[in-house]
Each structure stands twice: as structure tokens, then as C-alpha cells.
């Protein structure tokens, strides 16, 4: 043993440094190609990201609308439980605000409200 220090106890496969040099020199081309692919994919990736955000936002809005609709359906069911006359009163009450009421409307309303024909005739004469 001439001396540990002067002797490197490690070998490399034959011709390794030549192939290493070739592979290392290819790094710039490889990196540029990879960057090129990414740059080409970038607009599509951005578009996909926008689409994903819009889908999520749309889904959230839709979910909220369904919940609101469900609660208004509950209300409808509640009103359906009320008497027809009271409901009609409510509906007519709304219409009064918007449109002028004709004489025929009043007569129809009285008929629907089971007011006797004599009473209607009496009011009409007045």
C-alpha cells in the first residue's frame, strides 16, 4: 500500500465521464423544451382554472337558490293549509294595490264569498 491518500479507492464504469458530459451538456435543451411545453400549456391551464372557479361559484349559487326555493315551497304549503277565502283575501288584497277594482270584480268576489244573490242584488240596486 503506497499510501491511502494517493490512492483513490473508488472506480467509475468505463467511459462514464464521456457519457456524463454528453448528458450534462443536454440539460439546456431539455430545460428549454420542458419550459416550452409548460409555456404552451399555460393558457390551457389558466382556462381550466377559470372554468373550475366558475363551476364552483355556479354550484354554490345554485345550491343557495335551491335552498331558498325549498323554503318558499314550505311557505306555499303553509298557505295551502289556510282557508281558500283567507287566501283569496290575501290575493285580492295584493291586487287592490296595483289595479282599480271594477263593479264586476266586486260582484264576482261576493259570489265566491258565498254572499246570497238577494244581498248582491240589493247592493247593486244601491
Amino acid at each position: 500500500m503506497e499510501g491511502i491518500r494517493k490512492h483513490n479507492p473508488i472506480d467509475v464504469p468505463e467511459g462514464y465521464f464521456d457519457s456524463l458530459r454528453t448528458r450534462l451538456e443536454a440539460i439546456p435543451h431539455k430545460e428549454r423544451a420542458e419550459r416550452g411545453v409548460w409555456e404552451k400549456l399555460m393558457p390551457y391551464a389558466s382556462l381550466a382554472a377559470c372554468f373550475a372557479v366558475l363551476t364552483l361559484a355556479g354550484n354554490a349559487v345554485l345550491h343557495r337558490t335551491i335552498e331558498e326555493k325549498a323554503s318558499s315551497e314550505d311557505e306555499e304549503l303553509y298557505y295551502a293549509g289556510l282557508s281558500n277565502s283567507f287566501q283569496n283575501e290575501l290575493l285580492l288584497g295584493n291586487e287592490v294595490i296595483d289595479e282599480p277594482v271594477s263593479e264586476d270584480d266586486i260582484i264576482n268576489y261576493l259570489i265566491e264569498s258565498s254572499v246570497s244573490e238577494q244581498s248582491i242584488a240589493y247592493l247593486d240596486m244601491k
Binding site: 491511502i4 491518500r5 479507492p9 473508488i10 467509475v12 464504469p13 458530459r21 451538456e25 439546456p28
Partner: protein, 196 residues
Amino acid sequence: MTDKEIIALIRSGQTETAFNAIVGNYNERLYWHVRHFLCSHEDTDDLLQEIFIKVWSGLQNFRGESGIYTWLFRIATNESLNFLQKCRIRSILRFGSLTDEMAQKIESDPYFNGDEIERELEKAIHRLPDKQKTVFLMRYREDLPYEDISEILGTSVGALKASYHFAKEKILQELDIKNKNIKLDRKKIVKELLDD
């Protein structure tokens, strides 16, 4: 091509020519630098690719404040130590130790052509703490001057000499224990280690 010429190429925007010059000048030296840390040809080959990818991406911003040589060895040293740190964590997760893993790598390395003393010496080096191991490998295996190691590691020459001294003492102690089993000629080893 000299480092100054390479820096001039980088400054004139000819980064690819500069990179190829760096590969030509330093691929072998950096291989050995990394190989002494990793004790495995395959790991060294993989890490060397990563190191040169970092060099390529860093070349665009290289201002030449430190020399090419210092810059390259700094990247290679940091990457090697990071690699060992990852191995250490992996070993701990497998209820093992990095020292055992390195010893196993040295034992099974098909490219190790040294005798038993050299194998024991290699194992002893890899039992050292990272800082001491780094200084010892750079000084003992690569024969780098303390001034260069100081620039690469950002440590004073005095601190490096102290580190090397402690590393050497530890290795000698370890080899002394081993000597009893494998009947090594301790005087020869001591002479080699002390003959700086």
C-alpha cells in the same frame, strides 16, 4: 477555458456556451466531490444531474461576485449535505441510522477497489458529524487548500484546521479499535493522516 473567460461569456449572454465550458471543466471534479459524500455511484449520478440543472438555472443570474469554482463547489456541497439529510430522515423513519446505511453502501459498492483498511477508513469518515466530514473529505480526499475550502464553506481557515484536527483524531481512534481485529499497520495510517 478559464473561469474568467466563462464569466465573460455569461456577461455577454452566451450562457449555453458558458454552461458547456463549465461542464467540460468541472464535471469530473464535481463527480468526485459528490461521490465522496454519497458513497454510491448511482446516487452521485442522479444528484449531479440536479446540481447541473441548478447551475444552468442559476447561470442567468450569476454576477461573478464569487468565482465559478467557489460557486459550483458551494452548490455541490449544499446539495450533497441536503441529500444526506434526506437519507438520515428516511433511515430514522425505518428505525435505522444513516451511519449504518452508509456503511452498508461502502460494503456493497461494486466500484470500491480499496483494501480492508481503506474500507474501514471510509466508514470512519462517514461516522463523523457533517461539518467535520465535509472539511475532512475536501482536505483529505480532494486535496483542496484550506483557503479554497474557507471560501466555499464561508468558514475561517483557523476553524477549518481545528475541524480537520478533531476529525482526524476521531478517525484515528476508530481505526485503532479496528486495528485489534484486522491487524492493520497503524503507523502507516497515522503517518498518512498526519502528513498534511
